[in-house]
């Protein structure tokens, strides 16, 4: 069990201490459900880690009338429990309570899910992308607040020094849904994910995860759906448009080939639209 050089394990008592540990090369350790499997992927565990969960606000979920703020150390289970039954958050809740299995959801954090650039099948990434979440990062220079698309674009570079501290969810989403296709041979990871959110003005955002290396918005489908009269479209019509506007190149993997990931997308679009709470009947 011993290793030759003693590993550094720091529990940060301030964000500055955490940033300073990062500058000295420590990796953030959250729930460990991704990092602890590094040796199975042929990588060594980091020589130094820093734990953030003791920092103020990191495990809190603040629910205000205009905004929900989620600390980066909040677990999937806590996120689903806090938002279950709140209008507009349906997709985020399905993503948080559908990922992995109960024992993993109890420890795996929101921060860990968003800060793993090599993990294409992360559920919360497309759910937050569709929702329109903003990500707050502490960097050595300043606090940064970015939208999800910007964060994903710069994620690898930013995470060399930055720490994700909070997710901001404005409460202007009227309804959302999250449809995923897990496969046993993929270790129950989803091989394709579709998240949909409709805001109070009727604007639709659709995000796709696990199909390409990185989750992204399906803007061609969003535009086609926006041109339809009456929102949102029927599940069948949405699936037809998904077939017409297929612009993904699926990633090949041992768990599923790229063409398959793309082929199941219209069915996932149909399922997501079928799960979307009916706007006119909502309280």
């Amino acid at each position: 069990m011993s290793q030759s050089v003693e590993r550094q394990f720091a529990v940060a008592d301030s964000i500055d201490a955490a940033l300073s540990a990062r500058r000295s090369g420590a990796a953030v350790l959250a729930g460990g459900t991704w990092m602890m499997r590094d040796p199975r992927r042929g990588h060594d565990l980091p020589d130094a880690v820093v734990v953030l969960s003791g920092l103020s606000g990191m495990t809190d979920i603040a629910i205000d009338p205009d905004e929900v703020v989620v600390g980066a150390s909040v677990t999937h289970e806590a996120l689903a429990d806090a938002l279950r039954g709140s209008a507009g958050f349906e997709g985020v809740v399905v993503a948080a309570e559908g990922a992995a299995n109960p024992a993993i959801r109890r420890v795996a954090t929101v921060g860990g899910n968003l800060c793993t650039p090599d993990f294409s099948a992360a559920d919360l990434v497309p759910a937050f992308l569709a929702y329109g979440a903003m990500v707050e990062l502490a960097t050595p220079e300043r606090t940064l607040i970015l939208n999800m698309a910007e964060f994903l674009k710069q994620r690898r570079e930013l995470l060399r020094t930055a720490i994700l501290t909070r997710i901001h969810l404005r409460r202007d989403v009227a309804a959302s849904a999250h449809a995923r296709l897990p496969l046993r041979k993929a270790g129950d990871y989803p091989v394709a994910i579709v998240s949909v959110a409709v805001d109070g003005e009727g604007a639709i955002r659709i995000a796709v995860g696990s199909v390409e290396e990185q989750a992204r918005r399906w803007t061609s489908l969003e535009n086609a759906l926006t041109r339809l009269p009456g929102l949102p479209a029927s599940p069948e019509r949405a699936a037809e448009l998904a077939r017409e506007h297929m612009d993904f190149s699926g990633r090949d993997g041992v768990e599923a080939e790229g063409w398959y990931r793309c082929q199941v997308l219209p069915a996932l679009v149909r399922r997501a639209f079928a799960c979307l709470p009916k706007l006119e009947t909502r309280a």
């Binding site: 069990m1 011993s2 003693e6 590993r7 602890m36 299995n101 024992a103 420890v107």
Partner: protein
């Protein structure tokens, strides 16, 4: 690094690499071999223990995160000489165990679940078992036994000899 935690009710210390998975400490240092390292990836549930009363996978739990925590293993729940947990009694009475490889994890996951969800129905029980794979039983008899256990309410702890 030195980690102080409680293991099956006793204060214990660990002085070594803080990223050592709990499962290795349980089996190699504490000789508690109930929890099994099968997949070491969080998928099978054979290593499930309770940390502060919550079912978690010991294969993915670094020792450094356990400072001040309470760890309970299947040996702490009932060692065969003392009264068994009522759920173990229900499993034994319904003769659900086959090879037994998955059962320490199954019991640690489901005993926490029935404590927190005494009204659970079949679907809820199935959902709670998603992370505990059993290659032998086909699950249905395990679920039957949990349903019976919940129907019986909080049965008193029983001696193995009573079963």
């Amino acid at each position: 690094m030195s980690v102080t935690f409680r293991l099956n009710g006793q204060t214990t210390r660990f002085h070594d690499d803080p990223m050592t998975p709990l499962i290795d400490v349980l089996r190699r240092e504490k000789f508690l071999t109930g929890a099994k390292p099968v997949c070491r990836e969080g998928f099978c549930g054979a290593c499930t223990v309770q940390v502060d009363g919550e079912a978690q996978m010991a294969c993915l739990k670094p020792m450094g995160l356990l400072d001040g925590r309470e760890v309970t293993t299947i040996e702490g729940l009932g060692n065969g000489r003392e009264p068994l947990h009522p759920l173990q009694v229900a499993f034994a009475a319904a003769d659900v165990v086959q090879c037994g490889m998955c059962f320490p994890g199954m019991v640690m996951a489901l005993s926490a679940f029935v404590r927190d969800h005494p009204e659970a129905d079949r679907t809820a029980i199935k959902t709670a078992m998603v992370g505990n794979i059993c290659r032998c039983t086909g699950y249905e008899r395990i679920i039957d036994a949990v349903v019976d256990h919940l129907k019986d309410g909080a049965a008193p702890k029983a001696e193995l000899a009573d079963v």
